[in-house]
Symmetry: C2
Subunit: 339 residues, 2 copies
C-alpha cells in the first residue's frame, strides 16, 4: 500500500463574523496507508453544518475549536479501500468525522460501519444521521410532542427543520414552518406543513400570528428553534400554557461578531409555565441505531422524503458549500459529494 | 348583625412604570353582614407581593387585572367574626384573598380554614403560604435540586429567596445568594448561605464568579431566578452541564415601562444542555397542605426561621408597604398588620 494523492481543507485563521476565503486553504497532499488499528477511506460525501462555524472560532463552545493549520472535521461517508484492522474490512461503508478531504485514514474507534447500505450515501448524513436524529430527539425527548399539539419550527426547509416538519406531521401535530425564500416555503408546504411563511415578508410576530389563524389555532404548544433571535421572541409571545421550546440551534447569531440581545419577553415563560431547553445530540447517542432503523423503513416506504442540497465542485467546492449553507442557500441537508 | 366601619384601598387608575399615590384611594366604607354562604372576617395581616404590580396594570398576564374603582386583592389572614355558613364557624382563623381592607365578607368557597393556629399569623402568608410553597415547588418540582448541587438564588433576602436559602441548605446544596444591601447580605449569610453578595457592588457576572470561587465551585447546577435581567444573564454564563433555571419572578422588569432586552447568551443553554422553566404556584396546589405540615414542624423546631417585615401604619400604611416592597426595602415576607 502506498500514499494516495488527496486534497484537504486546512484552517488558517479563526473567522470573525462572516468567514473569509483567507481563513482556509485547500492543500494538495498525500493520504498515507493505514497504520495498525486504522483504515483508509475513499470519501464519497461530506456534511456541512452550522455548528462548524462555532468550532472554527476560538471560543470554547460545547466542542473543542478546530486546531489551526490542520484539516478541519466533518461527518463523512466513504468506502474502506485499505484496512489494517479485520473488524472493518475493505468495502465497508463507514461514517467518520475526518472530512474536508478526499481520502482519510481513520482509527477504527472513530468510524462506524453503516447499515442500510442500499440507501443514497447522503441519507446517512441527513435523515439517518445527525440532523434526522436531532429532529427526533428534540421532538420526542425535549419537546415531548403529542398528537394534537400546535408546533412551529424555524429553518423549516433546513436539514433538521425539514425532518421536524415531516416527523411532527406523522406524530399528529399541526405544523407551522418558517423559511427564507418562496421556494423554501413551497417545499415546506409540500413536506406537509399546515402553514408556512417567508420570514422576510414582515415582522415574524405578525407572520406567525397570521399562520396561527390560518390553522385555526391561537397559540403554540411547541416551538422547535433553529434560529433564535426574532423568531424566538415571536414564538414566546404566543405560547400556550405549559408550552415547550426545544433549543436546537441559533443560526441567527452564529455569524454575529457582537452579542445579540435576547428575547425581551422571557417573563411570559413564567405566565405560561413554559419550558425552554437546550440539547445536544451527544447526550442521546443511545437513540441512534433504533431511530435509524425506523427512519430507513420510512424512507424505503416513501413516508419520509430525504431533502438534500449537493453543492457542486467536489472537494474544491466544499468551502463555498459551507458558506452557502450558512447564507441559507441550501435546502434540506447540505452535503458535498467528494468523489 | 349590622355593617361595621371598614377602610379599603381601591384602584383608581392603572400605573405606568412606578405606581403613584394617585393610582389608588383609601376609602372609608362599611362592611356589610355576611349573606348566606359567606363569613365576615376581621383581618389581622395581609401580604404585599410583586405580582400585584402586574395585576394593577391593564395587560392580561397569567391573572386577570384588578378591576378599577374596586378594592384590590391580597392574601390575608383573619378571624371569622360573623358566620352565615356552619362549615366556617365564628373564631376560625382563615386565609382569603379579599385584602387591602380591615373587614371582608368572604364567600366560603374563597377562604380556607388554617391549621397551625399556634403560629404567628404572618407565617401563614410567608413560610406556610405562597412564598414558602413557591420556594419548595421551584426547588423540588422545577429545578430538581439534589444534594451536592451548587445553587444561586437572587433576591435571597426576599420572601421566596430567604426560604430558598434555608431549604436548599437543608437539602444539601451549596448556596450562593444575592441581595440589595449590606444588611440583607448579612441576613442571607445568617440564614446559612455559603456565599452572598450585594449586587450593587459591581457587575453581577463578576460578583457571581468571585462567589463561586469562594465556595470552591466553577459553575451552577441550579439558578433560582427572582429578578431576571442582568442576574439571569450572569447565571447563564456560568451554568454547568444539564443545569436548571427555575424562573420564579423577574422583579427587575415589573416596574419597567418599556420592554427590557433579554440575556444575550441563550446559546449557552444549548451548549450546556440547560433547561429554563417558568412556573406558577396555582399548578401545584396539591403540594400545599403536606408542605405546610412539614414546614410548620420545621418552624416549631427552629430549623427554619420565619423572616418578615411588618410595615407600619395598619391599613393606612398598606400602599406605602407595597411600594416599599417593590423598592426592595423589605426583608423576607412583606406583610401589613391590619388590626
Amino acid at each position: 500500500m502506498r500514499p494516495v494523492p488527496s486534497r484537504e481543507w486546512r484552517l488558517r485563521s479563526r473567522p470573525v463574523g462572516r468567514p473569509r476565503d483567507s481563513d482556509v486553504e485547500l492543500v494538495d497532499t498525500f493520504c498515507p496507508p493505514p497504520a495498525p488499528g486504522t483504515v483508509r477511506v475513499a470519501n464519497q460525501v461530506m456534511s456541512v453544518e452550522p455548528y462548524m462555524r462555532g468550532r472554527m472560532g476560538g471560543e470554547a463552545t460545547y466542542a473543542d475549536p478546530y486546531p489551526l493549520d490542520e484539516p478541519m472535521l466533518a461527518p463523512t461517508v466513504g468506502r474502506v479501500t485499505d484496512s489494517a484492522e479485520p473488524s472493518v474490512p475493505i468495502g465497508s461503508l463507514v461514517l467518520h468525522d475526518l472530512g474536508w478531504r478526499e481520502h482519510s485514514v481513520v482509527p477504527v474507534s472513530g468510524c462506524r460501519i453503516l447499515e442500510h447500505d442500499d440507501l443514497d450515501p447522503a441519507t446517512h448524513l441527513g435523515l439517518l444521521g445527525i440532523p434526522g436524529t436531532t429532529a427526533w430527539v428534540g421532538l420526542t425527548r425535549i419537546a415531548h410532542l403529542e398528537a394534537g399539539d400546535v408546533l412551529f419550527v424555524s429553518s423549516a426547509a433546513g436539514a433538521v427543520g425539514s425532518t421536524v416538519v415531516q416527523m411532527a406531521k406523522r406524530m399528529g401535530a399541526t405544523v407551522i414552518g418558517s423559511a427564507g425564500s418562496p421556494e423554501k416555503v413551497a417545499l415546506v408546504r409540500e413536506l406537509g406543513a399546515d402553514a408556512a411563511f417567508d420570514y422576510h415578508d414582515g415582522p415574524v410576530k405578525d407572520l406567525l400570528r397570521t399562520a396561527l389563524a390560518d390553522v385555526g389555532a391561537t397559540g403554540l404548544d411547541v416551538y422547535y428553534d433553529n434560529v433564535g433571535g426574532e423568531h424566538l421572541e415571536a414564538a414566546i409571545r404566543v405560547l400556550n400554557d405549559h408550552a415547550r421550546i426545544a433549543l436546537c440551534g441559533m443560526s441567527s447569531i452564529y455569524n454575529a461578531a457582537a452579542p445579540q440581545p435576547g428575547p425581551a419577553n422571557l417573563l411570559k415563560l413564567i405566565w405560561r409555565r413554559a419550558r425552554m431547553e437546550g440539547f445536544l445530540l451527544e447526550d442521546h447517542l443511545d437513540a441512534r441505531e433504533d431511530f435509524a432503523r425506523q427512519m430507513a423503513g420510512w424512507i424505503r416506504d416513501g413516508a419520509v422524503r430525504p431533502v438534500h442540497t449537493d453543492h457542486p465542485g467536489r472537494v474544491a467546492g466544499a468551502w463555498a458549500a459551507f458558506n452557502g449553507m450558512l447564507d441559507g442557500s441550501s435546502v434540506g441537508k447540505a452535503v458535498v459529494s467528494l468523489a
